[in-house]
Symmetry: D2
Subunit: 338 residues, 4 copies
């Protein structure tokens, strides 16, 4: 059978994660990984299942055997890398968000469209078994017309302060997953956003110009409403819950836990805290997103998260940012022509 | 409207409980209460809603206005009191168990039958909203043919050692409720019992000749099996759960709790312990059993827990005791003729 | 013991409910009820436990034995009745909302203050065992500093269209309970509101100028954020859930159900729908609010829901209305002086 | 790194399952599989990751490269195969039960002891994340002294009737897993068994001389009691629950489900049925048991389920069978000397 030959740009946590998952797929050859700090990665590389390591991402782009590129470098490099990779005819898996600028993203989009390569954004949560099942049941009309979508998304602890600076801020870094989930479940575009945000977790985050606690109200094209609540720190763990309410009923997804045990003792009945963080919680969806991306390439199917999904999530994040700054609801443009 | 005029024999915890519940019923007049320690009950009596207090239960039996007697004295007095009360034409509500002897119980039964008075045994759990609903759904064929009935029944802490001595032992004192529940849910008689018991909670209980931990297997006339597990001490509270399994499905009743709150903190997610003990847990069913008993008298309907229910629960307890002692399964005779 | 002698103005559903609960309280004498349609209430009155019925609420206000008035008439009569009752020195229990106008409410407030009578607003949900326990645990610092309060409040079905017209709209009629709950749990005033609303349940509601689906974002004085989601129709029943999230953890209150049974069948595991509507769901809190009000009068304690609570909830509702209409966040004035 | 070279005897469902899991382990080479119907397995074999297929299990035993044998053939061949494999110095993983005869099993045991090879029995449930965590917490004294162990174990549907005949009966085929789990959790030997069984699911099973519904009471050496309830058919799916109760509390393991969604609709709140059957439910524990077995070989550690575990589970099954037939409690001999 034909194999997909992959190069991975960026060997940070997320790059390593994808490599580890790609390694399990017998239809994938991981030919090369590039990283600016390649020389510090020797130990990891030895056992990584990757054939070559380089400091130069161009080694990947120029390798004719490599047909598929995973872009796992910092966000501010994504758009350029997409354009370069697409020009070379590579299929592209790009981590979220595509960029912080709609113009850059649209340019990258055009190159990809022209090149006709496969493209997928790393919105892995769409592949979570619980959330995918919600979407499936919405399609089966289990909740009727959707009226309200509620997403709770709270991290177990804030990222370090250096990361905060380059993260693009809460809406681009964290909420962007929730924006994508909202669109995915609503099967309708977000047309307006109102974002309320504040700095309650750690004053240092505020000093960096970011917020750590937010409530964002969404209005969808089909008339439904949505609300997302975010915190950078839930002391009990990674809190990821979703609720879809419609005129036929409601579906609620709860947190996943290490075990399902109930422990009855003198003072209370205890159950497990949620799985710690995204590596644990979305382990299955990370695996599934790469598997389905590889499958799309091999069978020529459309990917499950297309370029447009990246554009729209980014625009909603931008609108949220503007809304938070202006304290006004902000419209979201859903015409790609923009 | 006609009123029921009640006399209560025995003003211990359970007698007071019934008085308190009867007081809420506008169709009931509580004319008299008798207790050997009447002189120590002045304070309670002042606010009890009862008209008279006496040391002499005969004052109640001889009072012509009193048409209904609640027997809340120690078990070894029940049979005699039933006979005397029935001879005087009083309706009778008797606490469980009726007696420790099948012969005594049958004699009492005959007197009641001859007198044609209303009679109810205090198996209040039949009136619990959860358990009553299980029975209702069994009747609606929700579980199909019943194959297995499982009852978990654990007290929060053991009774004092003096009580243990006069209690009749675990099977007559505690499991008797579960035996009644098993019959009630199975809608079939128990034909055989095997009881495994042991003394794990407190060695003093063993010295009194009783056990504090038990597993009892039941065989029903309709072919179903049952199992009860008991403990005199569950440190997390009163554990009262039931499960009915059949070829159409299963129904499970969980514990009731003070609130339904979930508290997520650093170490676990906590929910409430079960309601503390029978006064809290079966508060509603105690109220309901007296209301329905009063209603039976006023409207001439059959009571919800008839004399036969008392006889059979007692026989199963007796069989369990014999089984535990002989370590053999023991048959239960279901012919009242004996 | 001293008794509270009550007159009830308005014998609609809520008036009857309070009468029924007051009847259980042995420290209460319900001397009179007034209703415009008194002549249609004969049957109910016969069994109501109330001594007299009248068409004229002035009969109540002029009765010197009556020391306490329950105002259960339509909202647009509340302010006037409060002023008249206070002038006569009556203690007042007034259904929510106090009025639709801040000026009217403040006037009534001043009269009550001058008269020095007891006053309580009918925010019964504060007395719900689950919600009261959340508040208690917040006080015990179980969630640390409160960051986010989330309230889900959905009715099982919309009121009839005639009622919609006089209801004051969703925010004054339905969300007002949630506004009070938000303040109660935050222990902090709401300083800003943004309300997103829409008409998805029934177009006829829209034609009456009202909405039936809403998401309202709140900002509290202490920096916390809040969000309420409302719907006039949840097909699965009355959906009343609350979540409080802070830097020490989170507490979640789920719906209450008729039983706790789990039914396993071929296609799913089923549990009960929520208790149907407010009469069932808040039965206990309706009882408790009147008991505690009566207790406040008898013992001279402050009531649990004071006039200020009525004023503030009303102002938040007003701000929500303005926010919805202007699509801007709207400030809430928390100075009573106005 | 050293590799383990495996031969698998028997390519039925369970043999294929192990091959599939072994294939994921980079320290394992699966050199050969034998099956009487090897010629019908071509299609599966092509993609199996196994190097050779044969009809002759002796090809495996005689292959000098193969150091480890998985015995996945019918139970009546296990003892002989163990002896032959051990004589050849192979490490052995043997499916449960080891045999239907204590003598045969003890003979096999002696050969294994003399050969000094690694041996593991296929009690995969010990590796289930929930059950392993219960055991861990018992070790941490979370439940104090264990008083009662309860195991619910019900299949979603009965095996076909041909299988019933060679299965050794319910106790040897199905309950044997529960017997092992009981010993594992109690950390104490079973000293006495009472088994109540019946034929309620399908009369054809009764005609084959087997039962399909059972309740088995256990007595442990340390004084604790245990109870297992079995059914060959739970229409709602594979029901696998465990509860351990002690003087410090209780721990309950519930079923695992495909998703954690709650679906609220007009008639009920629905959650998922349990995962269908053992392949789904114990997928993780099957993977883990082979991984840990391989790890034991590579690092020279003791296996997690030793020969003695196989012997004891089998003896309890034998005692249960005798108890069911004689309707008497039956002692279990825990001396290997026999």
């Amino acid at each position: 059978m034909k194999k997909v030959t992959v190069g991975v740009i960026g060997a940070g946590n997320i790059g390593k994660l994808h490599i580890n998952n790609l390694k399990r797929n017998k239809n994938v050859r991981i030919k090369m990984v590039s990283d600016l700090f390649a020389d510090k990665l020797e130990k990891w590389f030895a056992d990584s299942g990757v054939e070559e390591i380089t400091k130069e991402y161009n080694d990947i782009l120029n390798d004719e055997e490599i047909d598929t590129v995973f872009i796992c470098s910092p966000t501010n490099t994504h758009a350029t890398l997409i354009k370069e990779a697409a020009s070379k005819g590579k299929n592209i898996f790009c981590e979220k968000p595509i960029s912080f600028s709609d113009d850059e993203t649209l340019e990258a989009y055009k190159t990809v469209e022209e090149a006709g390569v496969k493209f997928q954004v790393g919105f892995n949560r769409r592949f979570d078994k619980n959330f995918a099942e919600i979407r499936k049941r919405i399609g089966e009309n289990k909740v009727g017309d959707v009226h309200i979508i509620k997403i709770t998304s709270r991290d177990p602890n804030p990222p370090n302060l250096d990361y905060i600076e380059t993260s693009g801020g809460l809406f681009f870094d964290m909420t962007i997953h929730d924006f994508d989930m909202a669109r995915y479940l609503a099967e309708s575009e977000v047309v307006e956003v109102f974002a309320q945000g504040t700095n309650l977790v750690n004053p240092e985050i505020g000093k960096k110009g970011d917020i750590d606690t937010a409530i964002i109200t969404l209005k969808f094209e089909n008339g439904a409403l949505g609300v997302i609540d975010n915190s950078r720190e839930a002391v009990y763990g990674y809190d990821q819950r979703i609720e879809v309410f419609g005129n036929g009923g409601a579906i609620v997804a709860d947190n996943e836990t290490p075990t399902n045990l109930k422990y009855y003792h003198k003072n209370a009945v205890e159950t497990d805290n949620p799985l710690h963080f995204f590596l644990e919680r979305y382990n299955g969806s990370f695996i599934s997103e790469t598997e389905q991306f590889v499958e799309s390439i091999l069978n020529g199917n459309e990917t499950k998260v297309v370029f447009n999904d990246g554009i729209m999530a980014q625009r909603i994040a931008q609108a949220a940012k503007e809304s938070y700054e202006s304290q006004r609801p902000v419209k979201v443009d859903n015409e790609i022509g923009g």
